[in-house]
Symmetry: C2
């Protein structure tokens, strides 16, 4: 029995497709097309400029932030939506460095998602030669924390392997050496319960187009600990983060609270779609989502491994050490994934040889997972993998 | 005769409203609601992750940039769309400073839009105490250029007064002292012909929700001179600006050309709406738009001044020195604007006492402009302006 059958009915899923890629791009939730039409026709179309107040567009970033807050264990008012995840990483790292002005190291791991690393090294390169982005293996993070580290920057769930860091433990270790703890929740928010407040996380950020189903390129979000926010000096001082934007003063004064993490004019249509998509979480028990995610992923691994010996599990075998995805490696991983997609089982490929599958219990049944495993095993077992047949190319994470 | 009557029919304008605020938020162009529905249902809904390639979402930022390029006199491939105007200002100023590493001053004027100033001072505050954002009166820019100036940062058209800088002349003056020329085109693009290439502008940026009608919070754009782009070291090194994002390398290598000005995952729905909105410019003669804009604004000024002596023109009287807006001051400007809006004539108010009116020939007739002037004059002439009746508040620029 699928405990989320009623919720699954609210998703618009292509008929016949088994979609194991909700960790790249979540599907459409029914009703978002009506939201887009309403915002375009009734708000923008009829109220025009008056809709900023008349349809309360101006408060969308905090209002949608408050929808995300309970999903990551954050207090109301501590999450702001806007821009992209990359921009939110920049804001967090820049603010963290400002909080630890005497320190020069950002510590991260080689499993972090590239944009987090690129954004950070771009920022550090402008601050001076003595700044360093130090990358170590994921398992070496705890032992690499020392008093040179201004901030530990980690993605909780590795986008390739699904390996999950212990957020509370590593945050505590970071704090023990006086470093701040920054967490990328791209593969966490909506995937399982997250407790940023209880874990004493300083900054967290994520995207909303994966497990939160906000649509392609939907805005990012940022959480700042209420203990820190009033000390934060924003690096990206946009006019919407001003204390009184409509005063049009030439001098910047940051808004109170998370208001200062706003930058430019918010993307109203995209945020309104996200607002509708997030309504689905009302009443959803994230503990049950996690339980079901483990059930589905364990069933998938067991079925694949029982039918096929040519796929190597690269995710941790212990589900407690995984997020909500499972990855295997295969020398012809790209070709295997293309063959799967041809049979309407959609996961994705990551360099160099990883095929990954996301488990999203809100719209995925056990029967589909078993069927996907059977099709995968058959493809791997039945085909001779001629390298030349397939040209390598990527899909967006 | 309105030479754009056929184009006006493609706008969805609220019946009975005279909209003189297209310089804040352009109206809906018919068909964008169908674009939103198509992207949501046929692309996101049916193709899911496969739409990044299958619906060519991945190239939206450059494709839409190429639609904007001819409107600002830029070569194909030199404009990239994304993020917000504030973020694009940050990218431009940061890149300009990198090009003039020995210089410490950004020169701007007191009429610049606040977000340009806020973003710049936030950036400079992180680079060291010897950096300075120097603000002078708009008329003093040319005389304030010297060899300390890394970049001149100006908005071509003043958001309050409509006063227009001479882009070619000031750019040439900036270059004469070795400074770069950065232009904010928020109130220029789509308002009149702009020649960034011919004027030898180094960086330009703008928003797309005013004269380009892209919708509330639609993405920003950035132009970088083809002579400079390959030397640019981006400050915001997002994964979509990487030479090969799907390699998922831990080290950043910037993409060729303007690709490096991309940051995070692009907002697909908003960009697709913008793409449709920009189709209206095909075949539009911007010289004729300008001619008609001058005709409408001159008629407005003449009518207002002939009927009413209590409004002071704060825009330059010479149309060659204006953009496509006209502003008056009145001690009770906010209340006057509210009374106008109550009569379905929509402009907006800017602190401290300015009422401003945007002229957008694509969807505005001479008859409407005359009618608006008559209503405005009647309001100013007939009312006793009791200060206590009106509470001051702002609308988004």
């Amino acid at each position: 029995m699928n405990p989320f059958a009623n919720i699954k009915a609210r998703f618009q899923l292509p008929s016949g497709m088994i979609y194991l890629d909700g960790n790249s791009l979540g599907p459409v939730i029914k009703g978002v097309e009506k939201t887009a039409a309403r915002v375009i026709e009734a708000e923008w179309g009829q109220k025009l400029i008056g809709a900023w107040n008349g349809a309360d567009w101006i408060n969308l970033p905090s209002r949608v932030g408050d929808q995300i807050a309970p999903l990551i264990g954050a207090q109301p008012g501590s999450v702001m939506v806007g821009d992209s995840l990359s921009i939110k990483v920049y804001q967090a790292v820049a603010a963290a460095l400002r909080q630890r002005p005497e320190r020069r190291v950002i510590l991260s791991d080689t499993g972090n998602f590239p944009t987090d690393l690129y954004i950070t090294s771009g920022l550090l390169s402008r601050l001076g030669n003595d700044y360093e982005l130090k990358l170590v293996a994921p398992a070496a993070i705890a032992d690499s924390l020392d008093e040179s580290v201004a901030a530990m920057l980690l993605t909780e769930v590795d986008y390739r392997t699904g390996r999950r860091h212990d957020m509370a433990e590593l945050t505590s270790r970071a704090h023990a050496v006086g470093a701040l703890a920054l967490w990328d929740l791209a593969h966490s928010a909506g995937a399982f319960p997250v407790q940023v407040s209880e874990s004493r996380v300083d900054f967290a950020f994520g995207c909303t187009y994966k497990y939160l189903n906000g649509g392609p390129g939907a805005p990012g979000f940022i959480y700042v600990s209420p203990d820190l926010i009033d000390e934060i000096d924003p690096a990206l001082c946009g006019w919407m983060g001003h204390e009184a934007p409509f005063e049009f003063s030439t001098a910047y004064r940051s808004a109170g609270g998370t208001g200062r993490m706003r930058v430019g004019t918010p993307p109203v249509i995209a945020m309104s779609i996200l607002e509708t998509a997030l309504e689905i979480w009302q009443g959803v028990n994230l503990e049950l989502v996690r339980e079901q995610s483990v059930l589905l992923s364990e069933a998938f691994i067991e079925r694949v491994e029982s039918e096929c010996s040519d796929l190597l599990l690269v995710s941790p075998r212990n589900p407690d050490q995984r997020g909500s995805q499972v990855s295997f490696s295969h020398p012809q991983g790209y070709a295997v994934m293309q063959a799967l997609i041809d049979q309407a089982v959609v996961g994705d490929f990551r360099e160099p040889d990883i095929i990954r599958f996301g488990f999203t219990p809100l719209y995925l049944d056990l029967e589909e997972v078993i069927q996907a495993a059977d099709i995968l095993a058959a493809i791997v077992n039945e085909n001779s993998w001629d390298q030349a047949r397939f040209k390598n190319r990527g899909l967006v994470t």
